[in-house]
Symmetry: C2
Subunit: 399 residues, 2 copies
Amino acid sequence: MNIAILGFGTVGSGVYDIVANGDRRMRVTAIFIRPTHPATMPEMTTDFDAILADPTIDVVVEAIGGLHPAHDYILRALQHGKHVVTANKAVVARYLPEFTATAAQHDVRFYFEATTGGGIPWIRNLERAARIDQVDTIEGIFNGTSNYILDQMQRAHLDFDPVLLAAKDMGYAEADPSADIDGDDIVNKLKISAALAYDMVPPRDVPKFGIRHVSKADIDFFAKHDQVLRLIGKSKRIDDHYSMVVEPRLYPATALAANTFENFNIIRLHGQTIGDLQFYGQGAGKYPTANAIVQDLFDILENVAHLKRDFGQTLQFDPDLSVADYLLRADPMTFAMFSDKQTEIVDHRLLIKQIPVGEMHRLMRGVLAIDAHAFMAAIGDSELTARDVKQQIDQEVIG
Amino acid sequence: MNIAILGFGTVGSGVYDIVANGDRRMRVTAIFIRPTHPATMPEMTTDFDAILADPTIDVVVEAIGGLHPAHDYILRALQHGKHVVTANKAVVARYLPEFTATAAQHDVRFYFEATTGGGIPWIRNLERAARIDQVDTIEGIFNGTSNYILDQMQRAHLDFDPVLLAAKDMGYAEADPSADIDGDDIVNKLKISAALAYDMVPPRDVPKFGIRHVSKADIDFFAKHDQVLRLIGKSKRIDDHYSMVVEPRLYPATALAANTFENFNIIRLHGQTIGDLQFYGQGAGKYPTANAIVQDLFDILENVAHLKRDFGQTLQFDPDLSVADYLLRADPMTFAMFSDKQTEIVDHRLLIKQIPVGEMHRLMRGVLAIDAHAFMAAIGDSELTARDVKQQIDQEVIG
């Protein structure tokens, strides 16, 4: 099986290394680089059309990133009868139905394990779970950069800015870290996951709130109450309604998510017969991400069909399907916005009880208009904390 | 695809339910029951030979358990050209190479996801990881009954016997719980995992020590030191040597294993490119186990080949490959056995430092000859606690 890699950055070169040292049935025969990149290897070319026209190339690995020209390259590769494997979450979140339809039309595969969860075999296991169960919950730490920042803030007792700076120095955060800290990266991964789980086209806009405004004082306050802050994505389905949200959420110290440190990811699904499954691993990095791509290459080589989806289900997106408690740290004059809710003041913060998630995110926009540095975090309504509910039941049984 | 289920207990009936409510390409057309079982459904038969002779039956699901007659039934089904799926860890741990060879000879599949980790897709993901990486570590909580007991002892502050009694009442432990609390069940699952990971025939004898002797005082002592006790299986490979052990092990309170409660399982693998992957879920139970069997049925239906293994690698089994610290609670007269080791007395217990695992298990037999109620637990040498090692590195970098 002959492979062309588009882009020879961290991920592309990682794929090259694994294939070169791995199964002899696979070979990288072309590497597409920009004209500005030095052509240091005989496989390198700046001619994408030559790759398309080469009948010996079976698979194109897209490792360029971004929406354009990635969208065009992927489509054209599929139209030229080449299987495509990609790690590009932005382009897959936006164009998954189009890519899937085009691949089917040209009788080739379009696989994208590396888009979500890095090295964690999340996509494949979500697809397998969905063969049997209606997956009704997806929840997890989908982004390593933001997890690294929150974890370091708590453990090193530092504020957001110095930790972000250190994360950049270590290569854990990009020069422009917005996509990681504001939640857009998680939105893309959650869209891909929900599209597969529910077989539908995800909404363009998902309620999201990032960690840009979290302070050392916030983290200290949470720690005092044995709560650990994580930036998560969550989707829930009930019958033909579903919700999706990206937001900071508090977990009790004994939750697996609270014990997911550094830049690791953990992602959970729930289905009727399988119950809770959780997957933990490296959500990014050269070789874990390249490993996920090579897994897809193996599936193509071994003719392993992935889940068939046409994204044709008409489900109702309802941001208010889930209800949670929220802790709000903001100028107290904003608290009046929640006067029709059940609230409580805890250490100068407002605890808002059982508010629909979508409504809280809408109201938060009003809060931010008054206090641009306000921060909120959800509590409760999370099966990652199922232990605490179960604990009561067990104590009744055991005595 | 027509399916015969052998045995209609918890697991067999769970498979029946999922298939009946699932994909229409699968049908259960025969259920093999003992003559003593009332034949309440038209599919039920006591004639195994009729199932073998029926050319319309494609797959046999073995859900009887035990070594015999399961071994004979599986072999004969394969020889009659039927795919076989089983949840029977004892028979697979003993006869995996024979079953695999027989299946290959008759061009059928032999799949066994449900043997290990219950509903956790462990076998399939281990196989997939091994397509790319040399998996060098397997470690985990493979048994829900023992985990339930240890978790309840810690949380309800009870001694072993009352918790075991309650576990039996709730159906979490069998009338004879030996296989669960003495580690034999874990030995079987670890053998299956290591056989796949290293492509070799596992040793007949694996060092094991169970939790039969653990006391409330032990657990309280560990808790005082922020350590959580878990009964685990672990295998490690370095070049052409490997170790396997089943034993009680202490984890710091922030390890994922320490936060795996109730009867849940968590299993970890480590490979060169993928790093750490961990899989968490229900290690037993009717529908999770049946789900794992139906996953195998889907793979047969969709012609998904699993990892090819002939178990032909000649690796050296070395129980002393790994080194760990141990905490020993025993009659102090036994402590003299460790006089050539680096030791320390901690609260009337002996802390033995950096002793080879196999040697510790051999010496423990001598300890038990003097004090039949002695207990030991390993500490350290565990990547499930990698956080603590990393913590130091991070603090240097960040602050």
